[in-house]
């Protein structure tokens, strides 16, 4: 079985028919579709939503070792549903994919896990919160979390402590993804302090820094004419944070969206075209690894540059994901994810 072909089919499941039913709350296959004015309930919504096609628990962290060396870390659990139902054996139509990575200035370590739902090998429980695939775990109460992952060449074990509130993107967590109205539910915890140990071929390295956990689920993340996205999560030295994404379209235009987050967790959403992201330089594989990002409404005009240009995720669905440094009107660090460049 060619797993790759199959996963591609899974993770980009938006069909033409799905669009037409968007307004009715479910699509043609019976999946629920995000609706405006969401009412989140926690901790339940930290858990899985099997009636939506896709969902993720996406953690990225900018870390520093005692000697000042910067590192990046990723822990992601994706859920992808073949049908809008759950189950407790192999027939459960829920598939799970975990990605873990550590990026150093010189190296990029990646690992991937795949698992079926229904048998206990992978899943997410809301209360007490636990997200896991195989031996990889993210568990705790969202004020504090423990996180671990392992691979043949690296492993890590981290402790996280929340230092601010959850924030909600778009319209109170209803995040529009295209001019045609595709949307997702999207909230984040961008205020985690994180510390722990990276086990790398170079040795064990004690690190600390800050982490950003994204939660997003939907049944129709991209429009037909959208081919990929560039996603920025930036933490400025002045305490402000900014999330921005740019969806690439086949007509050469882009759809952008941004959220400005004050140190207190007050958010200001920005809709299409408020954020402008322009590639400045590409790496050997034609992936843009230096960007000019502007958000005039917040006087942001920064250059975002990859810590390691080769942070390519050699996973079933390959993409670029790595830590960045920010210079210009605001200085800081952050994470950049780019898909659609294969």
């Amino acid at each position: 079985m060619n797993v790759k072909t199959f996963l591609l089919a899974l993770l980009l499941p938006v069909t033409a028919s799905a669009q037409g039913f968007a307004g009715l709350g479910t699509d043609a296959d019976g999946f629920s579709v995000p609706q405006p004015n969401p009412q989140f309930a926690f901790p339940a919504d930290h858990g899985a939503h099997p009636d939506y096609r896709i969902e993720w628990w996406y953690l990225t962290a900018n870390l520093t070792a005692e000697d000042g060396t910067p590192y990046g870390l990723q822990w992601t659990l994706f859920r992808s549903a073949l049908a809008p139902e759950d189950g407790d054996d192999w027939s459960a139509p829920q598939l799970w994919m975990g990605h873990a990575a550590v990026t150093t200035p010189d190296n990029h370590y990646v690992s991937e896990r795949l698992a079926r739902g229904g048998i206990g090998q992978a899943g997410v429980l809301a209360d007490p919160f636990a997200a896991w695939i195989d031996d990889w775990e993210l568990v705790g109460d969202w004020d504090t979390l423990r996180m671990s992952a392992s691979a043949p060449d690296f492993a890590y074990d981290m402790a996280l402590t929340a230092q601010g509130p959850l924030i909600f993107h778009g319209d109170a967590g209803y995040s529009v993804k295209s001019a045609a109205g595709q949307a997702s539910y999207y909230y984040s915890q961008p205020f985690f302090a994180i510390e722990g140990t990276l086990q790398l071929p170079e040795g064990n390295i004690a690190v600390r820094g800050n982490a950003w956990l994204d939660r997003e689920w939907s049944s129709q993340p991209l429009a037909d004419n959208q081919t990929g996205w560039d996603w920025f999560s930036l933490s400025f030295d002045d305490g402000n944070k900014m999330m921005g994404f740019r969806l690439q379209q086949t007509d050469g235009n882009n759809f952008t969206s941004a959220t400005w987050i004050t140190p207190e967790g007050v958010t200001t959403p920005y809709t299409d075209s408020a954020l402008v992201a322009t590639p400045l330089a590409v790496n050997d594989d034609d992936v843009p690894v230096r960007w000019r990002v502007t958000l005039p409404a917040q006087d942001v005009d920064v250059t975002v540059e990859a810590l390691n240009a080769d942070a390519w995720m050699t996973t079933s669905i390959p993409y670029w994901e790595g830590p960045v440094t920010v210079t210009g009107s605001h200085a800081g660090v952050g994470y950049l994810e780019m898909t659609g460049y294969e």
């Binding site: 060619n2 899974l10 054996d89 090998q121 195989d134 392992s150 492993a155």
Partner: protein, 794 residues
Amino acid sequence: MTRATLQALLSHWWRNPLQLFTLLAGLALATALWSGVQAVNAEARASYDAAAATLGEGQYDRLVRRDGQPMAQDTYVALRRAGWLVSPVVQGRLDGVRIVGVEPLTAPGGIGPITPTEGADITAFLTGDGQLFANAETAAQLSGLSVVVTPEAAPGTAVTDIGVAQRLLDKSGLIDSLIVLPGQPKGRADLGTLAPDLTLQPAQGGSDIARLTDSFHLNLTAFGLLSFAVGIFIVNGAIGLAFEQRRPVVRTLRALGLPLRQLIILMGAELMIFALIAGVIGVALGYVIAALLLPDVAATLRGLYGADVSGTLQLRPSWWLSGLAIALGGTAIAASGALYQMAKMPLLVAAQPRALAMAAGKRAVVQGIAAAVLLGLAGVMMFTAKGLIGGFILLAALLIGAALALPLVLDRILAGASRGAKSVTAQWFWADTRQQLPGLSLALMALLLAMSANVGVSTMVSSFRLTFTDFLDQRLASELYVRTENEAQSAALLQYAEPRTDIILPIQSADTQVAGQPTEVYGTRDHATYRENWVFLQQAARPWDTTFAGQTVLINEQLSRRAGLNVGDEIALQGTVFGIAGVYGDYGNPIGQVVIGEAVFLRLYPDIAPRNFGLRMDPDAVPDFVAGLEAETGIPATQSVNQAGIKAISLAIFERTFTVTTALNILTLAVAGFAILMSLLTLASMRVPQLAPAWAMGMTRSQIGRLELMRAVMLALLTAVVALPLGLALAWALLAVVNVAAFGWELPMYLFPMDYARLGLFALLAAALAALWPARRLARTPPADLLKVFSNER
């Protein structure tokens, strides 16, 4: 010049179409038998490879339970949660099809010979009723299931999702084995603490089935090679004769200034063209032979080893290319002697009609020495040969040595007969027969090989059949065998059978490894059924008493030979050490077996409940019992097999096994008969000058014809007399050396005089038939031709 030379050389064949036919037919037959056998082997091997690829056998380590039973699915999840990268597999049989359930998300790449095709729908594969992937043949057996046909699937195998397989095989929540992926993560927990009942089986190069069946294929190959050798004898005879007859042409060509080198190249090229033509015909015939044999071979392999082999033949380039190569190679071997002689021949040596005989006289010494060396080697190997290769070297030395010695032995016999002859006609008959011997010797060698192979193989087969039938009588002592599907059925059966039978003998087994050999352990209830019927090859004092008391075990001959274990040695089962109290014959079983007492079995393998039961009762009561069982307990009659039924099934499997060898036997004998016919036909035309004086002195043509016929029958008879001891020696080598190495058991040898007599009769009949036409031709030679012998200067 080249063209003219080639024309001159080829003209010989146009004038002697029979020789050309002999050459082409001999070569085509040899190639056909060889490549037919190879095609069968190739098909079977491809099937094993496809089956192995289904689960990546030989590539990955595996985790299985120590007692060979399925593990709980939770064990899989626990291992994954502890960092072990393993992928679960469920296997079983459904309607005779091997169902393999894999988990596509965790399985290593390349597991399951399936790529997404148009029929592949991920959602359909993973959820709902699921999908099975199988080839067209297998798909037809799986009615009522959603099957995607893919030619890449292994024969007799359907691959599906693990969840679907669990449901189809009634193994909900169970997993048979775990594939251990390469590249395990850091910090994974220790297997011993996680799952102490699991054991890691390291990946072994080559699949188990391929190794188990190696001996079977080696047997087939040996047969193919034997047939090929017989064919090459024919070709060698034809080429030798043609070169002999073309000496005048060669002399003339060389006298005209044709360089020797060019001549040799042209003659070689000419033969290679013939070889190519014959090769193509042979490969085509081989395909037909293979297609006819394959269903029987497939049935044999399934019956003997549980190996699934496709019943339909595919044309593989490697196979027909090798067929052509062996035709060319065979021709080269057959022609090298003749070409070498041609190169060495002094320019002006006259073509001599007796050249063949005289050359043979000189060759006799070399041949005699070679025969003596080979037979000597065979004699030594009889006592020292070990293993399959040794066995086959012994067979080859024996056969070739005897074949080479045959003309010398016949020559001696004829010389003796000629001395004893009183009348002139008789003296001439013997002398003339001796004179003809060199020309016929190749054909007679072919007959010798065919006959002795026939005697040898039929002795082996019949000995096996006899032993096996006796063995079945001992082993299948219970009148009825009942299989149960679950605990409830077992309990119902016991309750129903208790008052109606003499005794119930539960049959419980566990798969394990003993001394590195795959082995089944059987737990046996103490009863006279075993004590009275089983025959030991080796035994300590009171083996059953100590075994039922839980102190000792009994092992089968296969395990004894393969692991070098004998009575008095010790083996460990689940960590407990037992002494061996007896070794029993276990014919037809490819793997090792250990018998232990029921109580010990329950202690060592507490999770295994018996699902098969032998019931002792009045044989006449069996039909009523089965009907009553179905009515009272709902256990269907299909789960009951009476003794006669099992015997019939077992014997049927073995009958099919030997259909293959019998077919090859008949083919070899036919080729030998053909060789005699062709030799006699070619000799007949050359013999006119030698027969003319006999005719001139008053012998009638029909008398000469009758004598010709008699001569052929007499030579065949003498060959048969030599073939019998050779065949018996062959049978002994097959039973005592090859069989032990191939299957792990030694068979007692029985003799079948009636069979040999019938075979001898067939050989004489074949020789007589082959001689009939040439003899008639001689009898009808126009007197003018005979007269011409005296007038023509040759």
